[in-house]
C-alpha cells in the first residue's frame, strides 16, 4: 500500500508537534508512558519471550530447569528445617506451606533482581533506538510471571496428589485444594507482589545505571528479606518472640502480607488439621545410681493442629497495602522518568 507524497504531507500537517522522547509533566508523563507502553505491547511481548527463550536456550532440559530450582529449594528447606529442626511438628503439611511461600517469594526476587539489571543489560538497545524504557523492567515482570505460572501449575498438581494420598491413608476425603473465597487472598497477594516488586524494579533499574553497586546491594538485601517474611517459618514463631510496634513493623513489610495472603489462599491445612501420624512423648526414668535418663517414646496416633493465626483484618490490610504500593509505583515511575533522560549517555 503506497501512500502518495501529498497524502503523507496532509496527514503529517494534521498531526501536532510532539517533543522527541518521553513526555514531560507531573502526571502527564505517567499517563503518556502508559499509552506509550501500550502502543509498544507487541515489542513488550517479544522482549518477554526473548528473556524466557534465551535463558535456557541450548540446554537439554530447557524450561524444566525453571522448575527444578524451586523444587530443589523446597526439598532443602523441607529436610533441613522440617525434619532436622522439627518445624514439621509445628506446621501442618510443611511441604505445602513452604512451596506456597517460595512460589510467591520467587516471583518477587525474580522481578526485583532481574529488573534491577534490565536497563544496563539492554544498554545496546537503549543507546540506539527510542522505545519507552519502562518496557525493559516490564519485560522482566513478564518473564517472572511465566516462571510463576509454571510453579503454580506444579503447586496445584502437588496439592492434588497430596490430597489423594492423604484421603487414601485416612480412609476419608481430605481436600488440600483451595476452594471459594480463598482465591481472593491469592489474587490480592499476587497483585500486591506485582505492584511492590514493580515499583522496586523501576526505581532500582534506573538507579543502577548511575550506581552499579545497586545490583550487588539488591542481591544481599534479598537474602536478608527472605528471612524477614514468614516463608519457611510460621508467623506464630514471630509473634511468640516480638509484639507491639516491632510486630507492626514486621507486618508492614508488603512481602510479609503477600506471603501470608498467599498461604491463606493455597495452604488449606493452616485452617486446622488433623492427620494420622506418629505421636511422641518424653519418658523420664531413674537408674540404680539415681541418674535421670530421658527417652522419647513414639507410637502411632493422630496429630492435631489448631488453626494458624493470621493478622486481623487481612483483607483490609492487603487492600491498604495495595493502595500504598500503587502510589509507590507511581512515585518510582516519577523517579524513573526523571532519571531516564540521561540513560543513553550514562550507559
Amino acid at each position: 500500500m503506497r501512500v502518495s507524497r501529498q497524502e503523507r504531507d496532509s496527514a503529517l500537517a494534521m498531526e501536532p508537534l510532539r517533543p522527541a522522547g518521553p513526555a514531560e509533566g507531573f502526571v502527564g508523563s505517567t499517563l503518556h508512558a502508559i499509552k506509550d507502553v501500550f502502543d509498544h505491547r507487541e515489542l513488550l511481548g517479544l522482549l518477554t519471550r526473548r528473556e524466557i527463550k534465551a535463558r535456557y536456550k541450548d540446554s537439554a532440559l530447557g524450561l524444566i530447569w525453571s522448575l527444578i530450582r524451586p523444587i530443589v529449594q523446597l526439598l532443602v528447606y523441607w529436610v533441613a528445617l522440617g525434619q532436622f529442626m522439627g518445624m514439621m511438628r509445628a506446621i501442618p503439611e510443611f511441604a505445602v506451606f513452604i512451596f506456597t511461600g517460595l512460589t510467591i517469594w520467587q516471583l518477587f526476587t525474580d522481578i526485583v533482581t532481574q529488573g534491577t539489571n534490565t536497563i544496563v543489560a539492554n544498554a545496546g538497545l537503549i543507546k540506539k533506538v527510542y522505545v519507552p524504557r519502562e518496557i525493559f523492567p516490564l519485560s522482566t515482570i513478564g518473564s517472572a510471571l511465566f516462571n510463576f505460572g509454571m510453579q503454580m501449575v506444579v503447586l496445584i498438581l502437588f496439592l492434588g496428589l497430596r490430597s489423594a494420598q492423604l484421603s487414601a491413608r485416612h480412609g476419608e476425603g481430605v481436600n488440600l485444594f483451595p476452594l471459594g473465597s480463598r482465591w481472593i487472598y491469592g489474587v490480592l497477594a499476587l497483585l500486591l507482589t506485582l505492584l511492590w516488586a514493580g515499583a522496586l524494579a523501576l526505581l532500582l533499574s534506573a538507579i543502577n545505571v548511575y550506581l552499579r553497586d545497586t545490583q550487588w546491594l539488591v542481591e544481599i538485601s534479598m537474602m536478608v528479606l527472605f528471612w524477614a517474611s514468614p516463608t519457611v517459618y510460621a508467623l506464630r514463631m514471630v509473634t511468640d518472640q516480638v509484639g507491639g510496634w516491632l510486630l507492626q513493623v514486621y507486618l508492614a513489610n508488603p512481602m510479609t502480607m503477600a506471603v501470608l495472603g498467599f498461604q491463606r489462599a493455597f495452604w488449606v491445612p493452616g485452617d486446622g488439621f488433623d492427620t494420622p501420624g506418629t505421636v511422641c512423648r518424653e519418658v523420664t526414668t531413674y537408674d540404680a545410681g539415681g541418674l535421670v535418663e530421658a527417652a522419647q517414646v513414639c507410637e502411632p496416633g493422630r496429630v492435631v493442629f489448631g488453626p494458624t493465626a493470621y493478622p486481623g483484618n487481612m483483607m483490609l490490610r492487603l487492600g491498604i497495602m495495595i493502595a500504598i504500593c500503587t502510589v509507590l509505583l507511581w512515585g518510582a515511575h516519577r523517579v524513573f522518568a526523571r532519571l531516564q533522560a540521561n540513560f543513553a549517555q550514562e550507559l
Binding site: 501512500v3 503529517l12 498531526e15 517533543p19 522527541a20 526473548r50 527463550k53 534465551a54 533506538v129 543513553a344
Partner: protein
C-alpha cells in the same frame, strides 16, 4: 507547502566527562567532585527546521555533534536546553540489528528487530518472505544468530531495516558497511523512500554521497551549525575547513621532515600545480591541462630516481597517476634539489574538488616519499549531462 516534521529551537546538549571511576577516588575527592567533572558541549544553540519530504545530510568532522543531533531527534538523548519537537512516525537506523539476541534464531530475531524499529507484527508477517529472500539466507533462518557469519548477520539486519515504514528515517553511518552490491541496494532503497515523500535525515562522512542524495546539507562543527543550505554550497564550506585542517597537518609534517633532513634519503619537498604557462592553478575547466611540479631533494651523493605525480579526489581515490618510468622519460641521476614537472593535457574531470600528489621512488620502484593532498583545486563547468569521476558530454539518440 509541506509541514515541518522536525523543529529544533535553541538546542544545547552538555556531556559531563567524569575522570574518576573507582570508589576510592570518589571518597578521596569527596566534595571536590566539581573539579573532576569536565563539561563538554556537544551541541550548542542549534535551530533547525526540517520540512517533510526533504533529504537532509548532516556532515562535519569527527566529534562535531552530528550523531548526537541525530540521537536528539530520535529522542534517545534529552536536551539540556531548548526543545526538539517532531511529528510523524520515526525510525532510527543507528545500528543494524538493534535488539538481535545471539541465542535466538534468525526468524525470532527478525520479529524482534522489526518490532524495535516500529514495524507491527502483522506487517512483519506480510513481509517475512521478502525479508528472508532479500537477506539471501533462507536455509539458515532457523539457526541461532550466533552461528551466522558477520556478513549474514548484517544482511539479515538490513533486510529487516529496509522494511521500516516511517515518515522520518534517521540513518547513521550504518549504511557504510557491507559490500558494493549491498551498498547499491541501500542507495536504491533510499531513493525509493525519497520518491515516497518520506523525510530522511542522515549522517555521513561521504560528501559525495551527501551531494548526490540530499536536497539540503547541514554542516556542524564543534556543536554548532556553520553552514546550512543546498549541498553544493554547504559542502564547499566544509571542504574549505578540511583543507585548512589538512594544511595544518602538512605544516606539521614538514616540520618533522626538516628534522629528518639529515637522513640520507630522497624526499619530496613540495608539490605545486600550475597551468601549462606556469601560472599557479586553483580552478580548472572540465577539460584541464595541468602541470604538476614536484621538487625533490636527494641528499648526499645522489642517486637515480623515478618521479611520479597524479590527481586525487578528497577521499583519496586516485583519478589518474603516472611516473617517469611509465612515461618512458628517465629522470636519472639527481643530486641536491631539483624540480621535475609532470604535465597532463586534456584531462577530463567531473565537477568537484581535487588535489594532487607527488612521489619519488628508487629505480627498483620502492616508494621513498610521497606528498598527498597538495594544491587543492576546483573543477567547474556547465555541462551536467554526466556524473562520476571523469566527464564527457552525454546525449541520447534514438536508434
Amino acid at each position: 507547502m509541506s509541514p515541518n516534521v522536525v523543529e529544533i529551537n535553541g538546542l544545547s546538549k552538555r556531556f559531563v566527562i567524569r575522570k574518576e571511576k573507582s570508589l576510592k577516588e570518589r571518597i578521596v575527592n569527596w566534595g571536590r567532585s566539581q573539579e573532576h567533572k569536565e563539561d563538554f558541549l556537544a551541541l550548542q544553540g542549534i535551530d533547525l527546521n526540517i520540512q517533510a519530504g526533504t533529504t537532509v545530510g548532516l556532515v562535519g568532522p569527527n566529534g562535531s555533534g552530528k550523531s548526537t543531533l541525530l540521537k536528539m531527534i530520535a529522542g534517545i538523548l534529552q536536551p539540556n536546553q531548548g526543545t526538539v519537537r517532531v511529528r510523524g512516525r520515526i525510525a532510527a537506523l543507528l545500528e543494524l540489528g538493534a535488539g538481535f539476541h545471539p541465542d535466538l534464531t534468525g526468524r525470532e530475531n527478525v520479529y524482534l528487530n522489526a518490532s524495535v524499529l516500529g514495524i507491527s507484527k502483522e506487517e512483519t508477517e506480510r513481509h517475512f518472505e521478502q525479508i528472508v529472500e532479500f537477506s539471501g539466507i533462507e536455509q539458515f533462518i532457523d539457526t541461532q544468530v550466533k552461528f551466522y557469519s558477520s556478513g549474514m548477520y548484517v544482511r539479515l539486519a538490513f533486510a529487516v531495516a529496509v522494511h521500516v515504514d516511517p515518515d522520518i528515517l534517521l540513518v547513521d553511518e550504518v549504511l557504510a558497511v557491507g559490500d558494493e552490491p549491498f551498498q547499491k541496494k541501500c542507495m536504491d532503497r533510499i531513493k525509493q523512500f525519497q520518491a515516497d515523500g518520506r523525510t530522511i535525515i542522515f549522517v555521513s562522512h561521504s560528501l559525495d554521497q551527501v551531494g548526490e542524495l540530499c536536497d539540503r546539507a547541514v554542516v556542524l562543527e564543534e556543536g554548532e551549525i556553520v553552514a546550512d543550505g543546498v549541498p553544493a554550497e554547504a559542502l564547499k564550506v566544509l571542504r574549505e575547513r578540511f583543507d585548512e585542517q589538512r594544511a595544518d597537518d602538512l605544516d606539521a609534517r614538514h616540520a618533522r621532515q626538516r628534522q629528518d633532513a639529515e637522513l640520507d634519503r630522497p624526499r619530496v619537498d613540495r608539490v605545486e600545480l600550475f597551468d601549462l604557462a606556469g601560472n599557479p592553478l586553483t580552478e580548472a575547466d572540465q577539460v584541464a591541462d595541468l602541470r604538476i611540479a614536484i621538487t625533490v631533494t636527494v641528499p648526499g651523493a645522489g642517486q637515480d630516481v623515478i618521479v611520479g605525480a597524479g590527481v586525487d579526489t578528497p577521499w583519496g581515490v586516485t583519478v589518474i597517476g603516472t611516473n617517469s618510468e611509465m612515461i618512458g622519460t628517465e629522470v636519472g641521476f639527481v643530486q641536491g634539489t631539483q624540480r621535475i614537472d609532470v604535465v597532463y593535457r586534456g584531462l577530463r574531470l567531473a565537477r568537484g574538488r581535487y588535489s594532487v600528489h607527488g612521489q619519488v621512488s628508487n629505480v627498483d620502484g620502492v616508494e621513498l616519499d610521497r606528498v598527498r593532498d597538495a594544491s587543492p583545486f576546483e573543477v567547474e563547468g556547465d555541462d551536467e549531462t554526466s556524473a562520476g569521476l571523469t566527464w564527457a558530454h552525454a546525449s541520447i539518440e534514438r536508434g
